[in-house]
């Protein structure tokens, strides 16, 4: 839709009839008059990629406690991305268009990524399940359970204790051991370009 040239007089009459005959369109027009933006006009929102979760992991615990909305520096996130690239070629893998490759080819590369990611996670994070019970088992959440660590779903009514089936054990970073940076700017380079002389 072009906003620079308004529709001609006859087009506007045609539009008025169209609004008369189409309740859905009428609703849209009413909303527009009320000042709401069209979906296409809304600037694209940042899709919350999984790395946002990693950012939260990096934030030192005391900061989270003092303020819920924390503007994090991207350094730690970039650093983790750099480690995943160095150990596992993670960025190469995700940035490549997989459409033209067979599952066997993707699988071969995935071995590099999988093995390297495991190594990077093992070295730099201590991951543990949020709940130690086996998935599929029935568990009871007491009143005052940690809602940040356990998400309830389905028939959520009444008051805890809640009893339900553990669908996913969850993961928690018990410890984060990121390398120290002697130069913060270095983290922005996730992988150096390589030039063989």
């Amino acid at each position: 839709m072009t906003e620079s040239t308004p529709p001609s007089f006859f087009s506007r009459i045609a539009l008025a009839f169209a609004v008369l005959g189409d309740a859905h369109l009428a609703l849209g027009a009413a909303r527009l008059r009320g000042g709401e933006a069209l979906a296409a006009d809304v600037p694209p929102r940042e899709v919350p990629a999984p790395k946002i979760v990693e950012v939260r992991v990096e934030v030192p615990v005391e900061k989270v406690v003092e303020k819920r909305v924390e503007v994090t520096t991207p350094t730690a996130a970039l650093q983790l991305l750099g480690l995943l690239q160095r150990e596992a070629r993670f960025v190469d893998f995700v940035q490549e268009d997989v459409a033209g490759y067979t599952d066997a080819e993707i699988g071969a590369a995935a071995r590099v990524v999988h093995e390297g990611c495991r190594k990077a996670l093992r070295e730099h994070l201590t991951l543990e399940p949020v709940r130690p019970e086996a998935e599929g088992s029935r568990i009871t959440l007491p009143p005052g359970f940690d809602a940040a660590a356990v998400r309830v779903s389905g028939n959520v009514v009444g008051q805890p204790p809640f009893t339900g089936t553990l669908a996913h054990r969850g993961w928690r970073a018990a410890d984060v051991r990121l390398p120290q940076l002697t130069d913060d700017k270095a983290a922005a380079v996730i992988a150096q370009a390589e030039v063989e002389l």
Binding site: D92, Y101, E105, T182, A186
Partner: protein, 610 residues
């Protein structure tokens, strides 16, 4: 022998390895008897540009970057900027891609008598514009990094005030031991002891047993320590004896220096797989070959750890950013690992087998003297056969127990193969099979054992391994035979220091006077023997078997001209002393005088004719 402990809060053990270094500590004030408070220092090091991580192992690599390669911020360490190159993990990974700027295996160069070890010769194939450094200086760099890391973590306990035990291969000759001590002193270690690595491994085992070792070995046992590290293989025999009701350990024999280790094995496997890929028409460049070696190492560990795995896929990632499109996939099979590693490096051989040698080409002399026979078991057979006399046994020295050390022996199949081969030899001799002593941590045992050794030395309690000098030493003298024209005058070997001289002891060779010309260096031929254990000072050998005496680098004595007339001939005798550090020291003492002049082991090599 007393070890000064005033002010020392810690006993520090340092494993100065060919491929990795490690530092372990014992808190002396908190430890008592078998209860030992011990830790391993996580060493901060660069793992990528501007990225610091603390890891228990410091790779023994030094990278000399081009001035445009890394900024000052990229190479900063917690204790200040790294000067003149990078040590540790970043050096290893950078250097893999730019080997002309990488110093590796400095320790092997330090014990290479064919080169001047104080001269800037490394990296051996660096172009002219790279400022090379000496094997000695490289060793100082690794030790300094460990010192700085320690002092960063313990600012109130400077290393110079602690008791430091640094480990060396049992096979190090007097010159290499002295150079190691010199490197340690240059790094500021003031209270220093050198300890042989197989002994350190045994100390670590003793400590890990928590006093239970006395039940696991008994008087009459002979423990064979097999230490296969990243770059070298080291062998020792340690006897368990009883003295006044308590058990005593005595190191009775050490093997030769064998430049053969886990890195050779990983490369052998990678080259085998690269050949397989080449047959499929896939040629690998140098970068891919290294990536393949990395993948093969991981595959090898899986295959050797689990007998049910028949093959492990290995992917050689592309160098470019197209990971999926550019990667090569292959696999390493159980049969390949069995053939290349187990049969290639640990074949079933007879105890009478000798390592195969071939004449070296003159051009190979500039490099390291790598073992020519890759079969560790053949080196082992030769060692035990040569040391039969150490135990008064006829065919070979028969161990009753085996202790393993080194990363290679983490693989159960390789460990089993060695035990199987040794027990095969024992069975043929009608002897009982040797049992395997449960090892401690194979990567860190040497550093931990060294720290523990310093602890018991400081306390004067706990069992100590006695041993003294690992060889007897001889000086070459012209023999009393008539000279034959056209032939080199025959030479006799005069024993200067007997086998097993302990720290702090001294002997004098009065039987022979040497005339030293004031102001002029005099060179003497120098020999060592790991088998002639009954010779005493002054024993003169006119003949010896090829296996009996090994010629070492020449030694050099020089009288300074002060107070004397240059050209004057001064008769001197030679004195041998084992220092408290554990190095051998030779001195020239004028007859009737009390002055002493040090006789140098590590003589500058005569200028090589190009």
């Amino acid at each position: 022998m007393t070890v000064e402990t005033t002010g020392a809060r810690f006993s520090i053990g340092i494993d100065l390895g060919t491929t990795h270094c490690a530092l372990s500590w014992v808190d002396l004030s908190a430890s008592d008897g078998d209860r030992v408070v011990q830790g391993v220092l996580d060493v901060p090091q660069l793992t990528a540009p501007a990225t610091l991580e603390a890891r228990p192992l410091l790779p023994s690599f030094l990278y000399l970057p081009h001035e445009s390669e890394l900024s000052a911020g990229d190479t900063a360490l917690p204790w200040g900027a790294a000067e003149g190159g990078i040590t540790g993990e970043l050096a290893r990974t950078r250097g893999a891609a730019t080997p002309i700027r990488l110093v590796a295996s400095a320790k092997s160069w330090l014990c290479h008598p064919g080169v001047d070890r104080r001269a800037p010769i490394l990296p051996a194939d660096a172009p002219a514009e790279v400022a090379r450094i000496s094997p000695l200086a490289a060793s100082v760099r690794y030790l300094t990094h460990l010192r700085d890391a320690w002092e960063h973590a313990h600012p109130d306990a400077p290393l110079a005030a602690q008791h430091v035990t640094v480990t060396i291969p049992a096979s190090f000759d007097p010159a290499a031991r002295e150079l190691t001590a010199e490197a340690c002193q240059a790094a500021g270690f003031e209270r220093l002891t050198l300890l042989e690595e197989p002994q350190a491994a045994l100390y670590s085992w003793i400590q890990a047993s928590g006093g239970g070792w006395r039940k696991q070995v008994q008087s009459g046992d002979v423990i064979l320590v097999v230490d296969v590290g990243g770059g070298t293989t080291d062998l020792s025999l340690i006897a368990v004896q009883e003295n006044a009701g308590s058990l005593e350990l005595r190191r009775i024999a050490v093997g030769e220096h064998i430049l053969l280790g886990g890195d050779n094995m990983d490369l052998a496997l990678a080259y085998g797989v690269a050949r397989k890929l080449a047959q499929e028409g896939k040629q690998l460049d140098a970068w891919q070959t290294r990536a393949l070696a990395h993948g093969c190492r991981a595959a090898k560990e899986q295959l050797l750890a689990n007998e049910n795995v028949q093959s492990v896929p290995v992917v050689v990632p592309s160098r470019g950013s197209k990971l999926i499109g550019g990667s090569l996939r292959t696999e390493v099979t159980r049969a390949e690992v069995q053939q290349t590693l187990v049969e290639g490096f640990f074949p079933q051989v007879a105890v009478t087998d000798k390592p195969q040698t071939r004449a070296r080409g003159a051009l190979t002399q500039l490099g390291l003297p790598y073992a020519q026979d890759a079969a560790v078991t053949r080196h082992l057979a030769a060692f035990l056969a040569r040391q039969a006399g150490a135990l008064d046994q006829a065919t070979f020295a028969r161990p009753t127990a085996i202790l393993f050390n080194g990363g290679v022996l983490k693989a159960p199949q390789i460990a089993q193969r060695i035990v199987q081969v040794i027990n095969g030899w024992l069975a043929q001799d009608g002897a009982a099979p040797a049992r395997l002593l449960d090892g401690a941590h194979l990567d860190l045992a040497v550093a931990r054992g060294a720290a523990y050794h310093g602890h018991i030395a400081a306390r004067g309690q706990g069992v100590r391994i006695r041993g003294g000098t690992a060889q007897s030493y001889y000086v070459g003298v012209e023999s009393n035979m008539p000279a034959i024209p056209g032939m080199e005058p025959p030479i006799s070997a005069l024993c200067l220091a007997p086998f097993g001289m302990e720290e702090g002891s001294e002997v004098a060779l009065d039987a022979q006077e040497f005339g030293l010309v004031v102001g002029e260096p005099v060179r003497l031929r120098f020999f060592g023997s790991s088998v002639r254990r009954n010779d005493t000072v002054g024993t003169l050998l006119d003949f010896w078997g090829p296996e009996e005496l090994v010629e070492l680098q020449e030694i050099e004595a020089q009288l300074p001209a002060e107070g004397r007339t240059p050209g004057e001939v001064v008769p001197v005798t030679l004195h041998a002393r084992v220092t408290d550090i554990g190095t051998l020291e030779l001195d020239a003492v004028p007859v009737g005088g009390s002055e002493r002049w040090k006789v140098e082991f590590d003589v500058r090599a005569p200028a090589a004719s190009e």
